[in-house]
Protein backbone atom coordinates (compact mmCIF):
# COMPACT_ATOMS: atom_id res chain seq x y z
CA UNK A 1 0.00 0.00 0.00
CA UNK A 2 1.23 3.45 -0.86
CA UNK A 3 -0.17 6.97 -1.00
CA UNK A 4 -1.26 6.81 -4.65
CA UNK A 5 -2.94 3.46 -4.10
CA UNK A 6 -4.73 4.71 -1.00
CA UNK A 7 -6.01 7.69 -2.98
CA UNK A 8 -7.13 5.42 -5.82
CA UNK A 9 -8.87 3.16 -3.28
CA UNK A 10 -10.86 6.01 -1.75
CA UNK A 11 -11.81 7.25 -5.23
CA UNK A 12 -12.89 3.73 -6.21
CA UNK A 13 -15.10 3.60 -3.11
CA UNK A 14 -16.69 6.91 -4.14
CA UNK A 15 -17.39 5.50 -7.62
CA UNK A 16 -18.80 2.25 -6.23
CA UNK A 17 -21.02 4.06 -3.74
CA UNK A 18 -22.30 6.29 -6.54
CA UNK A 19 -23.14 3.25 -8.66
CA UNK A 20 -24.80 1.35 -5.81
CA UNK A 21 -26.45 4.32 -4.08
CA UNK A 22 -30.01 3.25 -4.92
CA UNK A 23 -29.36 -0.36 -3.96
CA UNK A 24 -27.99 0.68 -0.56
CA UNK A 25 -30.99 2.92 0.02
CA UNK A 26 -33.35 0.14 -1.02
CA UNK A 27 -31.77 -2.27 1.47
CA UNK A 28 -32.04 0.45 4.12
CA UNK A 29 -35.69 1.18 3.41
CA UNK A 30 -36.60 -2.45 4.14
CA UNK A 31 -35.19 -2.42 7.68
CA UNK A 32 -34.00 1.13 8.34
CA UNK A 33 -34.75 4.65 7.30
CA UNK A 34 -33.88 4.65 3.60
CA UNK A 35 -30.91 7.00 3.67
CA UNK A 36 -27.77 4.85 3.66
CA UNK A 37 -27.04 5.23 -0.06
CA UNK A 38 -27.62 8.98 -0.01
CA UNK A 39 -25.50 9.48 3.11
CA UNK A 40 -22.59 7.38 1.86
CA UNK A 41 -22.71 9.14 -1.48
CA UNK A 42 -22.64 12.56 0.18
CA UNK A 43 -19.74 11.44 2.39
CA UNK A 44 -17.48 9.95 -0.26
CA UNK A 45 -18.20 12.81 -2.66
CA UNK A 46 -16.99 15.13 0.11
CA UNK A 47 -13.90 12.95 0.58
CA UNK A 48 -13.06 13.14 -3.12
CA UNK A 49 -13.33 16.93 -2.97
CA UNK A 50 -11.39 17.17 0.29
CA UNK A 51 -8.47 15.16 -1.13
CA UNK A 52 -8.17 17.21 -4.33
CA UNK A 53 -4.81 18.92 -4.41
CA UNK A 54 -3.84 17.44 -1.03
CA UNK A 55 -0.39 15.83 -1.13
CA UNK A 56 0.07 13.93 2.14
CA UNK A 57 3.45 12.53 3.24
CA UNK A 58 2.08 9.25 4.50
CA UNK A 59 -0.62 6.74 3.63
CA UNK A 60 -2.04 7.41 7.06
CA UNK A 61 -2.39 11.15 6.59
CA UNK A 62 -4.53 10.57 3.52
CA UNK A 63 -6.78 8.04 5.23
CA UNK A 64 -7.12 10.15 8.39
CA UNK A 65 -8.19 13.07 6.22
CA UNK A 66 -10.74 10.81 4.50
CA UNK A 67 -12.05 9.66 7.89
CA UNK A 68 -12.33 13.16 9.30
CA UNK A 69 -14.23 14.24 6.20
CA UNK A 70 -16.64 11.31 6.53
CA UNK A 71 -17.36 12.23 10.17
CA UNK A 72 -18.15 15.79 9.19
CA UNK A 73 -20.30 14.99 6.19
CA UNK A 74 -22.13 11.65 6.43
CA UNK A 75 -24.27 11.98 9.57
CA UNK A 76 -26.20 9.05 10.92
CA UNK A 77 -24.35 6.17 12.52
CA UNK A 78 -22.28 5.44 9.41
CA UNK A 79 -20.45 8.78 9.64
CA UNK A 80 -18.75 8.18 12.99
CA UNK A 81 -18.40 4.44 12.35
CA UNK A 82 -16.76 4.60 8.91
CA UNK A 83 -15.03 7.91 9.64
CA UNK A 84 -13.64 6.55 12.90
CA UNK A 85 -12.50 3.38 11.13
CA UNK A 86 -10.62 5.25 8.39
CA UNK A 87 -9.00 7.45 11.03
CA UNK A 88 -7.97 4.39 13.05
CA UNK A 89 -6.56 2.68 9.95
CA UNK A 90 -4.70 5.86 9.01
CA UNK A 91 -3.19 6.35 12.44
CA UNK A 92 -1.38 2.99 12.06
CA UNK A 93 0.22 3.94 8.74
CA UNK A 94 2.75 6.69 9.38
CA UNK A 95 4.97 6.00 6.38
CA UNK A 96 4.72 6.51 2.60
CA UNK A 97 4.34 2.74 2.12
CA UNK A 98 2.98 -0.24 4.05
CA UNK A 99 3.49 -3.98 3.61
CA UNK A 100 0.42 -6.24 3.44
CA UNK A 101 1.20 -7.27 7.03
CA UNK A 102 1.28 -3.67 8.21
CA UNK A 103 -1.89 -2.90 6.30
CA UNK A 104 -3.59 -5.90 7.92
CA UNK A 105 -2.66 -4.44 11.32
CA UNK A 106 -4.18 -1.13 10.31
CA UNK A 107 -7.37 -2.77 9.06
CA UNK A 108 -7.63 -4.51 12.44
CA UNK A 109 -7.48 -1.13 14.18
CA UNK A 110 -10.33 0.01 11.94
CA UNK A 111 -12.48 -2.92 12.98
CA UNK A 112 -11.69 -2.32 16.64
CA UNK A 113 -12.83 1.27 16.26
CA UNK A 114 -16.18 0.18 14.79
CA UNK A 115 -16.71 -2.46 17.47
CA UNK A 116 -15.90 -0.05 20.26
CA UNK A 117 -17.96 2.88 19.01
CA UNK A 118 -20.93 0.79 17.88
CA UNK A 119 -20.74 -1.63 20.83
CA UNK A 120 -21.58 -4.36 18.34
CA UNK A 121 -20.29 -7.89 17.86
CA UNK A 122 -20.25 -10.35 14.97
CA UNK A 123 -23.74 -11.72 14.36
CA UNK A 124 -25.55 -8.51 15.31
CA UNK A 125 -26.36 -7.90 11.61
CA UNK A 126 -24.09 -4.90 11.09
CA UNK A 127 -21.10 -3.82 8.98
CA UNK A 128 -18.96 -5.94 11.33
CA UNK A 129 -20.40 -9.10 9.77
CA UNK A 130 -18.70 -8.16 6.50
CA UNK A 131 -15.62 -6.47 7.99
CA UNK A 132 -14.58 -9.23 10.43
CA UNK A 133 -14.38 -12.06 7.86
CA UNK A 134 -12.73 -9.71 5.35
CA UNK A 135 -10.05 -8.83 7.87
CA UNK A 136 -9.51 -12.49 8.81
CA UNK A 137 -9.01 -13.45 5.16
CA UNK A 138 -6.72 -10.52 4.50
CA UNK A 139 -4.66 -11.35 7.57
CA UNK A 140 -4.40 -15.01 6.60
CA UNK A 141 -3.20 -14.15 3.09
CA UNK A 142 -0.74 -11.55 4.38
CA UNK A 143 0.66 -14.02 6.92
CA UNK A 144 1.13 -16.54 4.11
CA UNK A 145 3.17 -13.99 2.17
CA UNK A 146 0.55 -12.96 -0.40
CA UNK A 147 0.78 -9.55 -2.05
CA UNK A 148 -1.76 -6.76 -1.46
CA UNK A 149 -3.86 -7.68 -4.52
CA UNK A 150 -4.23 -11.34 -3.52
CA UNK A 151 -4.99 -10.48 0.09
CA UNK A 152 -7.50 -7.80 -0.93
CA UNK A 153 -9.24 -10.18 -3.35
CA UNK A 154 -9.65 -12.76 -0.59
CA UNK A 155 -10.92 -10.04 1.74
CA UNK A 156 -13.46 -8.79 -0.82
CA UNK A 157 -14.81 -12.32 -1.36
CA UNK A 158 -15.07 -12.87 2.40
CA UNK A 159 -16.80 -9.51 2.90
CA UNK A 160 -19.40 -10.42 0.28
CA UNK A 161 -19.97 -13.84 1.86
CA UNK A 162 -20.36 -12.14 5.22
CA UNK A 163 -22.74 -9.60 3.72
CA UNK A 164 -24.96 -12.33 2.28
CA UNK A 165 -24.87 -14.18 5.58
CA UNK A 166 -26.53 -11.21 7.33
CA UNK A 167 -29.83 -11.92 5.53
CA UNK A 168 -31.15 -14.59 7.94
CA UNK A 169 -29.91 -12.78 11.05
CA UNK A 170 -32.08 -10.79 13.46
CA UNK A 171 -30.64 -7.31 13.98
CA UNK A 172 -29.43 -6.50 17.47
CA UNK A 173 -27.88 -3.10 16.81
CA UNK A 174 -28.85 0.02 14.91
CA UNK A 175 -32.22 1.04 13.63
CA UNK A 176 -33.02 -2.40 12.20
CA UNK A 177 -33.06 -3.79 15.74
CA UNK A 178 -36.35 -1.95 16.36
CA UNK A 179 -38.01 -4.39 13.96
CA UNK A 180 -37.14 -7.42 16.08
CA UNK A 181 -37.84 -10.65 14.20
CA UNK A 182 -39.07 -8.67 11.17
CA UNK A 183 -35.47 -7.77 10.35
CA UNK A 184 -34.85 -11.42 9.41
CA UNK A 185 -34.74 -12.05 5.65
CA UNK A 186 -33.19 -8.71 4.71
CA UNK A 187 -29.54 -8.08 3.93
CA UNK A 188 -27.88 -5.50 6.17
CA UNK A 189 -27.15 -2.23 4.32
CA UNK A 190 -24.05 -1.51 6.43
CA UNK A 191 -22.59 -4.91 5.58
CA UNK A 192 -23.36 -4.16 1.93
CA UNK A 193 -21.44 -0.87 1.96
CA UNK A 194 -18.53 -2.55 3.78
CA UNK A 195 -18.41 -5.18 1.04
CA UNK A 196 -18.24 -2.36 -1.54
CA UNK A 197 -15.26 -0.85 0.31
CA UNK A 198 -13.31 -4.13 0.29
CA UNK A 199 -14.23 -4.86 -3.36
CA UNK A 200 -12.94 -1.37 -4.25
CA UNK A 201 -9.68 -2.16 -2.45
CA UNK A 202 -9.30 -5.42 -4.40
CA UNK A 203 -10.04 -3.82 -7.76
CA UNK A 204 -7.66 -0.96 -7.09
CA UNK A 205 -4.83 -3.29 -5.99
CA UNK A 206 -5.36 -5.66 -8.93
CA UNK A 207 -5.41 -2.78 -11.43
CA UNK A 208 -2.00 -1.77 -10.07
Amino acid sequence: MDIDLARAWVQAIATAVDQHKDQLTQLDSAIGDADHGVNMHRGFSAVTTALEGVEPDTVGALLVKAGTTLISSVGGASGPLYGGAFRAIGKMLDAPKATPGEFAHALAAGLDSIKKLGAASPGDKTMIDAYAPALASFQQQADAGADLAAAALAAADAAEDGMRATTPLQARKGRASYLGARSVGHQDPGAASTALIFRALAETAVAR
Binding site: D35, G75, G76, P80, R175, S177
Partner: protein, 332 residues
Amino acid sequence: MKKLINAPEAVLADALSGVAAAHSGLNVDTENKVITRTAGTRAGKVALLSGGGSGHEPLHGGFVGLGMLDAACPGEVFTSPVPGQMLTAAQAVDGGAGVVFIVKNYTGDVLNFQMAAELAAEEGLSVETVLVDDDVAVRDSTYTAGRRGTGATVFVEKIAGALAEQGADLAAVAEMAKRVNASSRSFAVALTACTTPASGKPGFDLSEHEMEVGVGIHGEPGRRREKLRPAKEIVATALDAILDDQPLAAGDDAIVMVNGLGATPLIELYVVFNEVAQVLAAKNVTIARSLVGNYVTSLDMAGVSITVCKADADMLALWDAPVNTPALRWGA
Protein backbone atom coordinates in the same frame (compact mmCIF):
# COMPACT_ATOMS: atom_id res chain seq x y z
CA MET B 1 -45.11 10.78 -4.70
CA LYS B 2 -45.91 14.47 -5.07
CA LYS B 3 -43.84 16.87 -2.94
CA LEU B 4 -43.83 20.65 -2.55
CA ILE B 5 -40.12 20.98 -3.15
CA ASN B 6 -37.68 22.42 -5.65
CA ALA B 7 -35.24 19.51 -5.63
CA PRO B 8 -34.74 16.64 -3.16
CA GLU B 9 -31.17 17.69 -2.33
CA ALA B 10 -32.26 21.31 -1.70
CA VAL B 11 -35.08 20.58 0.77
CA LEU B 12 -33.15 21.21 3.98
CA ALA B 13 -31.40 24.37 2.79
CA ASP B 14 -34.63 25.79 1.33
CA ALA B 15 -36.61 24.98 4.49
CA LEU B 16 -33.97 26.55 6.74
CA SER B 17 -34.06 29.70 4.66
CA GLY B 18 -37.83 29.65 5.10
CA VAL B 19 -37.49 29.32 8.87
CA ALA B 20 -35.13 32.29 8.85
CA ALA B 21 -37.52 34.37 6.79
CA ALA B 22 -40.58 33.45 8.87
CA HIS B 23 -39.29 33.79 12.42
CA SER B 24 -37.44 36.93 13.41
CA GLY B 25 -36.88 35.46 16.89
CA LEU B 26 -34.64 32.82 15.37
CA ASN B 27 -31.20 33.17 13.95
CA VAL B 28 -30.48 30.59 11.26
CA ASP B 29 -26.91 29.84 10.26
CA THR B 30 -27.73 28.22 6.93
CA GLU B 31 -24.12 27.34 6.19
CA ASN B 32 -23.51 25.39 9.41
CA LYS B 33 -27.18 24.39 9.77
CA VAL B 34 -27.61 25.77 13.26
CA ILE B 35 -30.75 27.49 14.61
CA THR B 36 -30.35 29.74 17.66
CA ARG B 37 -32.33 32.45 19.43
CA THR B 38 -31.79 35.89 17.92
CA ALA B 39 -31.54 37.26 21.47
CA GLY B 40 -28.67 34.89 22.30
CA THR B 41 -28.07 33.21 25.64
CA ARG B 42 -28.32 35.30 28.80
CA ALA B 43 -24.95 35.27 30.62
CA GLY B 44 -24.94 32.60 33.29
CA LYS B 45 -27.91 30.71 31.86
CA VAL B 46 -27.48 27.00 31.09
CA ALA B 47 -27.98 26.47 27.35
CA LEU B 48 -30.11 23.66 25.93
CA LEU B 49 -29.08 22.21 22.59
CA SER B 50 -30.85 19.50 20.68
CA GLY B 51 -30.77 18.16 17.18
CA GLY B 52 -31.48 15.23 14.97
CA GLY B 53 -32.52 14.35 11.50
CA SER B 54 -34.95 16.68 9.73
CA GLY B 55 -38.45 15.59 8.79
CA HIS B 56 -39.82 15.80 12.36
CA GLU B 57 -40.81 19.47 12.26
CA PRO B 58 -41.57 21.42 14.35
CA LEU B 59 -38.99 19.36 16.32
CA HIS B 60 -36.32 20.71 16.99
CA GLY B 61 -36.00 24.14 15.38
CA GLY B 62 -39.60 25.04 16.21
CA PHE B 63 -38.79 24.70 19.89
CA VAL B 64 -35.94 27.20 19.94
CA GLY B 65 -36.83 30.28 21.94
CA LEU B 66 -37.53 31.66 25.40
CA GLY B 67 -38.20 28.89 27.91
CA MET B 68 -37.13 26.02 25.69
CA LEU B 69 -34.09 25.36 23.47
CA ASP B 70 -31.18 27.71 22.84
CA ALA B 71 -30.02 25.86 19.74
CA ALA B 72 -31.12 23.19 17.31
CA CYS B 73 -28.96 21.29 14.81
CA PRO B 74 -31.01 19.85 11.97
CA GLY B 75 -29.44 17.00 10.00
CA GLU B 76 -30.47 15.87 6.55
CA VAL B 77 -33.90 14.20 6.41
CA PHE B 78 -33.91 11.35 8.97
CA THR B 79 -30.12 11.60 9.27
CA SER B 80 -28.39 12.74 12.42
CA PRO B 81 -26.45 16.01 12.29
CA VAL B 82 -22.65 15.87 12.41
CA PRO B 83 -20.30 16.62 15.33
CA GLY B 84 -18.85 19.83 13.87
CA GLN B 85 -22.35 21.25 13.53
CA MET B 86 -23.11 20.55 17.19
CA LEU B 87 -19.80 22.03 18.31
CA THR B 88 -20.50 25.23 16.35
CA ALA B 89 -23.93 25.42 17.98
CA ALA B 90 -22.60 24.73 21.49
CA GLN B 91 -19.97 27.43 21.16
CA ALA B 92 -22.57 29.87 19.83
CA VAL B 93 -24.99 29.41 22.74
CA ASP B 94 -22.79 28.71 25.76
CA GLY B 95 -23.54 31.45 28.26
CA GLY B 96 -20.73 30.37 30.55
CA ALA B 97 -22.92 27.98 32.57
CA GLY B 98 -22.59 24.96 30.32
CA VAL B 99 -24.67 23.23 27.68
CA VAL B 100 -27.14 20.35 27.95
CA PHE B 101 -27.27 18.10 24.88
CA ILE B 102 -30.74 16.57 24.52
CA VAL B 103 -30.27 13.48 22.38
CA LYS B 104 -32.94 11.12 21.10
CA ASN B 105 -31.75 7.55 21.47
CA TYR B 106 -30.78 6.49 17.96
CA THR B 107 -27.38 5.05 17.18
CA GLY B 108 -26.51 7.83 14.74
CA ASP B 109 -27.58 10.67 17.03
CA VAL B 110 -25.86 9.10 20.02
CA LEU B 111 -22.54 8.57 18.20
CA ASN B 112 -22.46 12.03 16.64
CA PHE B 113 -23.41 13.80 19.88
CA GLN B 114 -20.82 11.71 21.74
CA MET B 115 -18.12 12.91 19.36
CA ALA B 116 -19.43 16.47 19.67
CA ALA B 117 -19.30 16.27 23.49
CA GLU B 118 -15.66 15.17 23.27
CA LEU B 119 -14.84 18.06 20.91
CA ALA B 120 -16.68 20.53 23.16
CA ALA B 121 -14.79 19.29 26.23
CA GLU B 122 -11.52 19.85 24.33
CA GLU B 123 -12.69 23.43 23.73
CA GLY B 124 -13.29 23.90 27.44
CA LEU B 125 -17.10 23.75 27.42
CA SER B 126 -19.06 21.97 30.16
CA VAL B 127 -21.52 19.59 28.54
CA GLU B 128 -24.09 17.23 30.03
CA THR B 129 -25.81 14.78 27.72
CA VAL B 130 -29.37 13.59 28.36
CA LEU B 131 -30.74 10.66 26.36
CA VAL B 132 -34.44 10.53 25.58
CA ASP B 133 -35.75 6.97 25.24
CA ASP B 134 -39.49 6.89 25.83
CA ASP B 135 -40.85 4.61 23.11
CA VAL B 136 -42.19 1.46 24.76
CA ALA B 137 -42.75 -0.26 21.40
CA VAL B 138 -39.07 -1.17 21.52
CA ARG B 139 -37.91 -3.40 24.30
CA ASP B 140 -34.87 -2.04 26.07
CA SER B 141 -32.57 -5.01 26.13
CA THR B 142 -29.09 -6.05 25.12
CA TYR B 143 -30.67 -7.29 21.89
CA THR B 144 -31.69 -3.88 20.56
CA ALA B 145 -30.24 -0.41 20.29
CA GLY B 146 -32.54 0.45 23.21
CA ARG B 147 -35.80 2.34 23.26
CA ARG B 148 -36.24 5.15 20.75
CA GLY B 149 -36.56 8.80 21.68
CA THR B 150 -39.86 10.21 20.42
CA GLY B 151 -42.64 12.39 21.90
CA ALA B 152 -41.12 12.82 25.35
CA THR B 153 -38.49 15.03 23.72
CA VAL B 154 -41.04 17.87 23.71
CA PHE B 155 -41.70 17.42 27.44
CA VAL B 156 -37.97 17.27 28.24
CA GLU B 157 -37.19 20.38 26.19
CA LYS B 158 -40.11 22.37 27.66
CA ILE B 159 -39.62 21.47 31.32
CA ALA B 160 -35.81 21.51 31.44
CA GLY B 161 -35.87 24.68 29.31
CA ALA B 162 -38.07 26.41 31.87
CA LEU B 163 -35.76 25.37 34.70
CA ALA B 164 -32.73 26.71 32.83
CA GLU B 165 -34.59 29.99 32.25
CA GLN B 166 -35.08 30.27 36.04
CA GLY B 167 -31.31 30.14 36.52
CA ALA B 168 -30.75 26.55 37.69
CA ASP B 169 -27.24 25.18 37.22
CA LEU B 170 -26.06 22.63 34.67
CA ALA B 171 -26.39 19.58 36.92
CA ALA B 172 -29.89 20.56 38.04
CA VAL B 173 -31.13 21.18 34.50
CA ALA B 174 -29.70 17.87 33.27
CA GLU B 175 -31.16 16.07 36.28
CA MET B 176 -34.64 17.48 35.61
CA ALA B 177 -34.37 16.52 31.93
CA LYS B 178 -33.52 12.95 32.97
CA ARG B 179 -36.41 12.89 35.43
CA VAL B 180 -38.90 13.97 32.78
CA ASN B 181 -37.61 11.33 30.41
CA ALA B 182 -37.77 8.65 33.09
CA SER B 183 -41.38 9.64 33.83
CA SER B 184 -42.54 9.56 30.19
CA ARG B 185 -43.61 6.78 27.85
CA SER B 186 -44.79 6.81 24.23
CA PHE B 187 -46.36 4.50 21.69
CA ALA B 188 -47.20 5.14 18.02
CA VAL B 189 -49.34 3.64 15.28
CA ALA B 190 -49.09 4.42 11.56
CA LEU B 191 -51.84 4.25 8.95
CA THR B 192 -49.50 5.04 6.04
CA ALA B 193 -45.76 5.00 5.44
CA CYS B 194 -43.92 8.25 4.81
CA THR B 195 -41.93 9.23 1.74
CA THR B 196 -38.52 10.84 2.04
CA PRO B 197 -37.76 13.49 -0.61
CA ALA B 198 -34.64 11.56 -1.66
CA SER B 199 -36.31 8.20 -2.25
CA GLY B 200 -39.63 9.51 -3.58
CA LYS B 201 -41.35 6.26 -2.62
CA PRO B 202 -43.14 5.22 0.58
CA GLY B 203 -40.84 3.38 3.00
CA PHE B 204 -43.16 0.38 3.13
CA ASP B 205 -46.42 -0.77 1.57
CA LEU B 206 -49.52 -0.81 3.69
CA SER B 207 -52.92 -1.80 2.33
CA GLU B 208 -56.15 0.13 2.91
CA HIS B 209 -57.12 -2.17 5.77
CA GLU B 210 -53.84 -2.39 7.65
CA MET B 211 -51.86 -0.40 10.19
CA GLU B 212 -48.30 -0.62 11.52
CA VAL B 213 -48.23 -0.90 15.27
CA GLY B 214 -45.26 0.33 17.28
CA VAL B 215 -43.65 2.59 14.67
CA GLY B 216 -40.87 5.07 15.27
CA ILE B 217 -40.51 8.46 13.61
CA HIS B 218 -38.22 7.55 10.71
CA GLY B 219 -40.55 5.72 8.38
CA GLU B 220 -39.22 2.37 9.45
CA PRO B 221 -41.80 -0.40 9.76
CA GLY B 222 -43.19 -1.00 13.24
CA ARG B 223 -43.13 -3.99 15.54
CA ARG B 224 -46.02 -5.68 13.80
CA ARG B 225 -48.72 -5.22 11.18
CA GLU B 226 -52.36 -5.55 12.12
CA LYS B 227 -55.81 -5.04 10.67
CA LEU B 228 -57.01 -1.48 11.12
CA ARG B 229 -59.31 -1.17 14.13
CA PRO B 230 -61.49 1.58 15.63
CA ALA B 231 -59.68 4.40 17.46
CA LYS B 232 -60.93 3.11 20.82
CA GLU B 233 -59.13 -0.21 20.33
CA ILE B 234 -55.97 1.37 18.95
CA VAL B 235 -55.77 3.67 21.98
CA ALA B 236 -56.35 0.70 24.29
CA THR B 237 -53.38 -1.10 22.71
CA ALA B 238 -51.15 1.97 22.99
CA LEU B 239 -52.11 2.78 26.58
CA ASP B 240 -51.76 -0.87 27.64
CA ALA B 241 -48.17 -0.77 26.39
CA ILE B 242 -47.50 2.58 28.06
CA LEU B 243 -49.12 1.77 31.41
CA ASP B 244 -47.65 -1.75 31.54
CA ASP B 245 -44.25 -0.11 31.49
CA GLN B 246 -45.09 2.75 33.82
CA PRO B 247 -48.24 2.21 35.87
CA LEU B 248 -50.25 5.26 36.91
CA ALA B 249 -52.20 5.13 40.15
CA ALA B 250 -55.45 6.81 41.13
CA GLY B 251 -54.70 10.41 42.02
CA ASP B 252 -51.65 10.70 39.76
CA ASP B 253 -51.25 13.73 37.52
CA ALA B 254 -50.28 13.24 33.89
CA ILE B 255 -49.16 15.43 31.02
CA VAL B 256 -50.57 13.83 27.87
CA MET B 257 -49.62 14.54 24.27
CA VAL B 258 -51.59 13.17 21.34
CA ASN B 259 -49.29 13.88 18.46
CA GLY B 260 -49.93 13.65 14.73
CA LEU B 261 -47.18 12.02 12.66
CA GLY B 262 -47.53 14.50 9.81
CA ALA B 263 -50.61 13.64 7.74
CA THR B 264 -53.26 13.09 10.38
CA PRO B 265 -56.21 15.49 10.50
CA LEU B 266 -56.55 17.31 13.81
CA ILE B 267 -60.11 16.06 14.15
CA GLU B 268 -58.79 12.48 14.31
CA LEU B 269 -56.25 13.48 16.96
CA TYR B 270 -59.13 14.76 19.08
CA VAL B 271 -60.98 11.47 18.54
CA VAL B 272 -57.88 9.76 19.90
CA PHE B 273 -57.55 12.22 22.78
CA ASN B 274 -61.13 11.53 23.81
CA GLU B 275 -60.35 7.82 24.06
CA VAL B 276 -57.19 8.50 26.05
CA ALA B 277 -59.14 10.76 28.41
CA GLN B 278 -61.75 8.07 29.01
CA VAL B 279 -59.19 5.38 29.80
CA LEU B 280 -57.28 7.64 32.22
CA ALA B 281 -60.50 8.91 33.84
CA ALA B 282 -61.52 5.33 34.54
CA LYS B 283 -58.23 4.93 36.41
CA ASN B 284 -58.80 8.19 38.30
CA VAL B 285 -55.68 9.67 36.71
CA THR B 286 -55.92 13.42 36.12
CA ILE B 287 -54.82 14.81 32.79
CA ALA B 288 -53.28 17.90 34.34
CA ARG B 289 -51.90 19.34 31.07
CA SER B 290 -52.28 18.34 27.45
CA LEU B 291 -51.03 18.91 23.93
CA VAL B 292 -52.94 17.90 20.82
CA GLY B 293 -51.34 18.58 17.46
CA ASN B 294 -48.29 17.96 15.30
CA TYR B 295 -45.14 18.29 17.42
CA VAL B 296 -42.90 15.35 16.48
CA THR B 297 -43.71 14.32 12.95
CA SER B 298 -42.46 11.78 10.49
CA LEU B 299 -42.79 13.70 7.21
CA ASP B 300 -46.13 12.75 5.62
CA MET B 301 -46.89 9.69 7.70
CA ALA B 302 -50.52 9.33 8.78
CA GLY B 303 -50.79 8.10 12.31
CA VAL B 304 -50.56 9.10 15.91
CA SER B 305 -48.25 8.85 18.87
CA ILE B 306 -49.39 9.05 22.45
CA THR B 307 -47.02 10.25 25.17
CA VAL B 308 -47.87 10.13 28.87
CA CYS B 309 -45.69 11.78 31.50
CA LYS B 310 -46.33 11.03 35.15
CA ALA B 311 -45.88 14.58 36.42
CA ASP B 312 -45.04 15.93 39.84
CA ALA B 313 -45.76 19.47 41.08
CA ASP B 314 -42.32 20.75 40.01
CA MET B 315 -42.81 19.50 36.48
CA LEU B 316 -46.28 21.02 36.23
CA ALA B 317 -45.06 24.40 37.48
CA LEU B 318 -42.23 24.34 34.94
CA TRP B 319 -44.68 23.26 32.24
CA ASP B 320 -46.74 26.38 32.98
CA ALA B 321 -43.73 28.71 32.87
CA PRO B 322 -43.62 31.15 29.93
CA VAL B 323 -42.50 29.77 26.59
CA ASN B 324 -42.14 31.62 23.30
CA THR B 325 -41.08 29.48 20.37
CA PRO B 326 -42.54 29.07 16.87
CA ALA B 327 -44.34 25.85 17.86
CA LEU B 328 -45.11 26.29 21.56
CA ARG B 329 -46.12 29.60 23.07
CA TRP B 330 -47.87 30.62 26.25
CA GLY B 331 -47.48 33.06 29.13
CA ALA B 332 -44.82 35.09 27.33
